[in-house]
Symmetry: C2
Subunit: 390 residues, 2 copies
Amino acid sequence: MIDFDFINPTRIIFGKGKENEVGNIIAEYGFKRVLVVYGGNSTKKSGLYDRVIARLDEKGIFHCELGGITPNPELKFVIEGRKIARENKIDMILAVGGGSVIDTSKAVAASYYYSGDPFDFNLKKVTPDRTIRVGVILTISSAGSESSDSCVITNPETKRKQGFNHWRNRPLFAIENPELTYSVSKYQTAIGTADIMMHSMERYFNFSEENQLCDDLALAVVKNAMISGKNSVQNPTNYEARGQMMLASSLAHDGLTSIGKVSQFVVHPLEHAVSGYRPDVPHGAGIAICYLGWAKYVYKQDLPKFARLSRYLFNIDVEDDEKAAIIGIEAMRDFYLSIGLPTRLSEFGITESDLPILADLATGNGTRVIGRCPQSLDKKDVEAIYRLCL
Amino acid sequence: MIDFDFINPTRIIFGKGKENEVGNIIAEYGFKRVLVVYGGNSTKKSGLYDRVIARLDEKGIFHCELGGITPNPELKFVIEGRKIARENKIDMILAVGGGSVIDTSKAVAASYYYSGDPFDFNLKKVTPDRTIRVGVILTISSAGSESSDSCVITNPETKRKQGFNHWRNRPLFAIENPELTYSVSKYQTAIGTADIMMHSMERYFNFSEENQLCDDLALAVVKNAMISGKNSVQNPTNYEARGQMMLASSLAHDGLTSIGKVSQFVVHPLEHAVSGYRPDVPHGAGIAICYLGWAKYVYKQDLPKFARLSRYLFNIDVEDDEKAAIIGIEAMRDFYLSIGLPTRLSEFGITESDLPILADLATGNGTRVIGRCPQSLDKKDVEAIYRLCL
């Protein structure tokens, strides 16, 4: 185990109709002026927006808003949000949505008291030493931003996603009502499932030496994300399934399962290059594809760990580690297919000729290596992995 | 899943020598006047006390102290601590020790601003609406109080332990250096192992309906408490084992594995009667004994859950749930024996004639039932369970 300094003070308020308590909750904390951040029209169409505003009004809480946040949120939203927030002298932000809305809110919160470019945090030029607090009403289980310390914003010039992690990014509270995710489409639910699973699998595959406790916790989250994700795809209004998926979303990315381990994501940067290059590839779909390619490329470097994952997730009763690992990769592909996910880059029209471009994007034209678990990957490795994804 | 409102803001600072940073940590929070609470002579003999005091002095932090806290701490320590704390106008408490020291510190913190009897919190007459903060330097892995919301104090009149739970009880930080537990004896380590395991097993056996995620997390904690506990007994200076055990201690009792479930302990109240009646029975030893008796009595009421535990913890490859459950109870007894724990009340000289007294103590002379998972236990049930423990 390596040293760690871990704190996750996000309060999770879970249950049916809990979003209707948002006025009371904010009033109890003593906040009086709120910036409400949300995404597309669905928040308004579903009536959620109106309900939230009514609850704030009931408590006499002033509110202004920043709507229309899109996936892979760009810096422009943060700059606009900061302007609105300052003009209205807000004292907290309420994010109503998923990862993009929450990350935008975190970026506004971090830059509220900062005079420079909000992207400086993402560029690691500065760290947030004073922020305003963010509360969340979660509407999709996927990114895990509702209790994570990360904040990913897309660089408008390079179109590259860039994240920064800080404990001050963790939301003050996250209201989680599984019913609010009933309307998430089957495809989006499958994408969310792959995303949640990978947040936990990236941590499982980190260097861990003797930290079997966190590895087992990570695998438990993966397994239950798979079960609840599949049940949610099959029956979108299954409360228990949606609830387990929501909880898995929060636990997969809150960092608990990587404490005491070297934490470095591998599949995520492989995928970021793909969806950066081809924005029609949804993040979770790209994750599923890249995991399979990566696993095929590296599994021999850490057979015991791949075998253990196979046995735990798929009950593979094979003593030989290599066989178990191989069967496990096939079983994972079958799982992705079973929930309707793509498993090949070619399904998006990506061909051999695109691979060098993708490898350049992922490695900064060969100036960076990716990850180190179980091996670090240079541009040649990365291109070979993308080839296995075709 | 049932509704929940969960927050665990305790910061865990983990690693070798981290206790030497305590002055910096406290100074960073801005505290200036500290009550240091500790237990027996071992804290002084080991040099830990002197090191802590030196770190506080270096930072110019005022300190007063409350030493000599004994296991199952009585109210008198809390009253004395509150007096010292008020006289010295302290602004935080530093608990250097394990469960008894931490619980005493929590009780002083909760009653600091309260004019009435500190035991009123334990009697649920009042809840703490304002407390001072508690920091922890952990020296034994067992009780899990370092990041839990519970505070157990022994009633001086009835000699009954009485706890209360409140989120304000959660420590501000817990410094966890596995090396500080190297000197914990093999027997105390075994007792701690049983205690950690049971904190997680009680949560596993709670009503959970569909909350398989939290059940799997709970089992992962139990399994790794067993592995690391046994390794720590066999090699007390194994850093990885001591570290995993420390982490398991904190995770087993922080409440995460029971969110979304009805949480009601069963084996703990059975044991509290035993060690209340016979204080020479260490809590963790009594826990091991009572678990075996309870499991034998109730396993048929929830075969799938007992079978699942058996299969996960002991790799029992038996399809029949009842057989798996029975083998699992025997395997648990063997595990307890393998780390040097008693498994029968008779080992402490308790005989048939003591059982009605124990059953009266556990059920308030038959006025209370215990638990409800998988069945609630009245005085007759409880006496039958103690008989199975003989």
